[in-house]
């Protein structure tokens, strides 16, 4: 028995099931990060003093990471567009670039975190670092998760292209929606933590 509405749309919703599913999941993710942002606002406004982000964190490095993640969003959507144009080879190149850019993001984060730890700065040191590590740590886990799914579609999962190209295209689109969301969170995280 086939999984229903992976390619054909449901007439009552006007959508395929996977599309609704991923948007519902993203809605829950909005609540997750929203709760942490609310915590940040409360902690910061209630604190007697709060350091400016630039005094604690590396702004040029984070700006570079912002450019990396935005670029990966472009390559992600280009990967989907390539499948729509039935160019599987081009899809592989763009999806590979997306995964690579995600890896670059993680490497930069590794340098950021290890520099902090080497200088005896941990989440337990103060409230700024606690919320910084929590927010960026959770975001980083989402980056890793997204990369894992993207790697699956780049690698073993791509054999679906041969048997059901429309379904494969839709699955890549849904993975792309998650990846764009991860980029979107960073677009808010970056100024909040580093620039204010």
């Amino acid at each position: 028995m086939d999984i229903p509405y992976t390619v054909e749309i449901r007439r009552d919703t006007g959508l395929i099931n996977g599309k609704i599913g991923i948007w519902l999941f993203l809605a829950s993710e909005v609540m997750l990060f929203g709760a942490l942002f609310a915590s940040y606002i409360l902690i910061r406004t209630g604190a007697p003093s709060w350091p400016r982000g630039a005094t604690m964190l590396n702004v040029p490095l984070a700006t570079f990471n912002t450019i990396v993640l935005i670029s990966s969003s472009v390559t992600m959507v280009m990967a989907w567009a390539s499948l729509k144009r039935r160019r599987f080879g081009t899809f592989r190149i763009y999806m590979g670039a997306t995964i690579l850019l995600g890896f670059v993001f993680l490497v930069v984060k590794y340098f950021e975190y290890s520099h902090k730890f080497e200088n005896g700065l941990f989440p337990s040191t103060n409230n700024f670092l606690a919320i910084y590590f929590t927010l960026t740590g959770l975001h980083m886990l989402h980056v890793i998760g997204g990369m894992a799914v993207n790697a699956y579609f780049w690698g073993p999962g791509s054999k679906l292209w041969k048997t059901n190209p429309e379904w494969f295209t839709n699955r890549v689109e849904h993975s792309g929606l998650f990846w764009h969301f991860v980029d979107l969170v960073w677009i808010f995280l970056f100024p909040t933590l580093y620039l204010l």
């Binding site: 390619v7 054909e8 959508l15 609310a38 406004t45 700006t63 472009v74 992600m76 280009m78 100024p191």
Partner: protein, 110 residues
């Protein structure tokens, strides 16, 4: 089954549409790069905190909207997705507003 498949193909974009989409993606990418430079530049002016926060949030919202509308195709999505997101927005605002409203020297309680 075949008629549903035809509907699926019809709702998916044709080659010309994709070309137009790709042009939009490149334009959005350039806009996002520019806005990233803008937001970092503005932060260097060391504006008073409320002004800095407002400016940062406005720029971030514009960037986020570009990603949502064009990369995530929200600008041409179905009503059900809009409804889900509208509900999410309501709960998100409540999630942010409720804890802030409990603070004694917050802006809403004296």
């Amino acid at each position: 089954m075949t008629s549903d498949h035809a509907v699926a193909s019809m709702t998916s974009d044709h080659a010309d549409d994709i070309d137009r989409h790709v042009r939009v993606y490149i334009s959005v990418f350039v806009a996002l790069m520019v806005l990233t430079v803008v937001t970092v530049t503005v932060s260097r002016f060391h504006l008073p905190v409320p002004v800095a926060v407002t400016a940062a949030l406005i720029i971030a919202t514009i960037k986020g909207s570009l990603v949502a509308c064009y990369f995530m195709h929200l600008i041409s999505e179905k009503k059900l997705i809009y409804a889900v997101l509208a509900l999410t927005a309501v709960f998100f605002v409540a999630l942010l507003a409720l804890p802030i409203a409990t603070v004694n020297n917050g802006y809403w309680i004296h």
